[in-house]
């Protein structure tokens, strides 16, 4: 049977991806260029009893989805730059309290109000380090309308599986452009729901590591009474300042994402003509499309250039980048900021090859010509 197809904006695809994943709660606040996500969900959620609430501010929106998630809901918020800045406090709360939720960050120019309708990729480090304190981050960076759909689904899956906030970060260009999308049928994509407790309420502890690094989370209102706090806590969920408890819990919360096995599960990237590449482009989001265009043009001239496109931005695909760093003469990192992910590439290749940044922050995309010129200079 032919699949349902439509021409959709990236933001609209995000909303539909969320619904496919089982999202039944959205708390948000209007902000350009992410508002279409809220608009679509305000229309769709109540059709099946889902909840949409426009909160009084960005912090309230973030608070509402954490509250909703604790009742068992699959909860989403969407925002951009300044709004994501405001949400940071409670993104940290969701990290330490280990509450699954998904945050869409549609990147515009910045800092501050910046260029609300212009594209940017300058919030990728914010995704990693925006909230204070040590914490692990999962952030996904789709590059097309179809991929926004599938990565939003994956964001929910990872949030539920690893019991934490997951961010989907994409620039205004992919958020606002329209492309053909094929809607997956139910069952085409895997849907993961959080593990439920296997012990009775009398034995239940919300951070019980005897069930592994991701302890099952009970929903409020199902007979399990427990405590949730933003304070450092012990396995029973109650605040503690006991050194060994605090240390163990903090390390576990990072390990659950950055441990070997988890990394293999979470990391996702695409390589294009990297096998014989002597020059590597590292690009994500809309910029990766310019980079791919550039690769095709340059290959016509016989220049051996390849593209590495991280789809999972955080945790960073360290191993593969380190290996590629040893293979190529140089890595070029075009991004719509003045140098962010290039620093991570640099950190990982440890001087094995030069890492060259192409930055742009004037509200225009990085076009293939810019990348082609840089490759030719390096060659």
């Amino acid at each position: 049977m032919a699949k349902k197809v439509a021409l959709l904006q990236g933001n609209e695809a995000c909303a539909h991806g969320a619904l496919y994943a089982g999202c039944n709660f959205f708390g948000g606040y209007p902000i350009t260029p992410s508002t279409e996500v809220a608009e679509v969900l305000s229309n769709e959620l109540p059709k099946f009893g889902g909840k949409f609430i426009q909160m009084e501010d960005e912090i309230g929106a973030m608070a509402s989805i954490i509250g909703a998630s604790l009742t068992g809901a699959k909860a989403l918020t969407a925002s951009s730059g300044p709004g994501i800045s405001l949400k940071q406090e409670l993104i940290g709360y969701a990290c330490i309290a280990e509450v699954p939720c998904v945050i869409i960050s549609v990147m515009r120019g910045g800092p501050s109000t910046g260029m609300p309708t212009g594209p940017g990729q300058s919030d990728v480090m914010q995704a990693k380090w925006g909230t204070h304190g040590d914490h692990a981050t999962i952030a996904l960076a789709p590059a097309s309308v179809q991929e926004i759909f599938t990565e939003t689904v994956r964001a929910f899956n990872l949030a539920e599986k690893y019991r934490m906030p997951v961010q989907v970060v994409y620039d205004e260009i992919v958020g606002h452009m329209r492309e053909r999308i094929e809607f997956p049928e139910p069952g085409d994509l895997e849907i993961i729901n959080r593990a439920k407790p296997t012990v009775g309420p009398d034995k239940y502890k919300p951070y019980d590591t005897s069930f592994g690094d991701v302890p099952p989370l009970a929903a409020y209102g199902t007979g399990y009474r427990y405590h949730v706090t933003g304070l450092n806590k012990a396995q029973d969920g109650f605040p503690t300042t006991k050194a060994e408890y605090v240390d163990a819990e903090e390390r576990r919360q990072i390990r659950k994402v950055e441990g070997e096995v988890a990394r293999v599960d979470i990391e996702k990237y695409e390589e294009y003509l990297t096998d014989d590449a002597t020059i590597l482009l590292f690009a994500y989001g809309s910029t990766s499309r310019s980079a791919r265009y550039a690769v095709n043009e340059l290959r016509k001239e016989g220049i051996k250039v390849g593209l590495f496109r991280p789809i999972t931005l955080w945790p960073f695909p360290e191993k593969r980048i380190a290996a590629l760093g040893k293979q190529v003469k140089a890595i070029i990192v075009p991004e719509l900021n003045l140098g962010q992910m290039n620093l991570e590439v640099e950190r990982v290749v440890k001087g094995a090859c030069p890492v060259i940044s192409i930055g742009r922050v004037d509200g225009e995309p990085i076009n293939p010509g810019q990348i082609i010129a840089q490759v030719k200079e390096v060659k």
Binding site: V5, A6, L7, T32, P33, P116, T117, E172, I173, V174, H176, M177, R178, E179, R180, S286, R289, S290, R292, Y293, N296, P365, N367, P368
Partner: protein, 182 residues
């Protein structure tokens, strides 16, 4: 048609040119099964002032999603002609609303003229369908999609009560340009 074809619709905010771009992209991507990307101007400039909507159509997946040098451009107003008719490819085409664009942009492209707003007002009776007249005209001018696909996409977008009106507008725009091309 070349591998990658770029069309820009420009005019004043509120003239429905973003919708025209979306319909063209739907005709290409949904009805004809090609690859298409549509993008548009946002923010204050999309409300009044000069506004634009761009469509890229290709037989293969589209990497760079923004226009590079457009193959064809529509300009409904002088301001949009001044602002957006600059990046037209050598040998490309520009369609202007001749009642509003008095200073014709100069370049290595062919300019076609048609009183688009007036056609919508006088011959259809509704200025609001000027964007659909323009869409028909641009499809006739470029063969970006087939006439039938364009019409089907128009009709899929409009409420039932306005089907005839829009069908008329689309075909009028199409035929007027075909007559110019003869």
């Amino acid at each position: 048609m070349s591998k990658r074809f770029e069309i820009r619709f420009s005019g004043a905010g509120g003239q429905g040119l973003i919708t025209a771009g979306i319909i063209l992209a739907e005709a290409a991507a949904i009805i004809e099964g090609k690859h298409a990307v549509q993008s548009q101007s946002y923010g204050p400039e999309a409300r009044g002032g000069a506004s634009k909507s761009e469509v890229i159509i290709s037989d293969s997946p589209i990497d760079y999603p923004k226009a590079t040098v457009v193959d064809a451009c529509l300009a409904m107003t002088q301001e949009s002609a001044d602002k957006y008719a600059n990046g037209i490819k050598k040998g490309g085409v520009l369609l202007i609303d001749s009642d509003f664009v008095k200073n014709e942009p100069k370049g290595d492209f062919k300019v076609y003229k048609m009183p688009i707003m007036r056609t919508a007002k006088d011959e259809i009776g509704r200025e609001i369908v000027a964007n659909v007249v323009a869409l028909g005209a641009m499809i006739a001018l470029t063969d970006a999609v087939s006439r039938e696909a364009g019409e089907k996409a128009v009709l899929a977008r409009v409420p039932e009560a306005f089907l005839d009106l829009n069908k008329k507008a689309y075909n009028l725009g199409f035929e007027k340009v075909k007559a110019l091309l003869k």
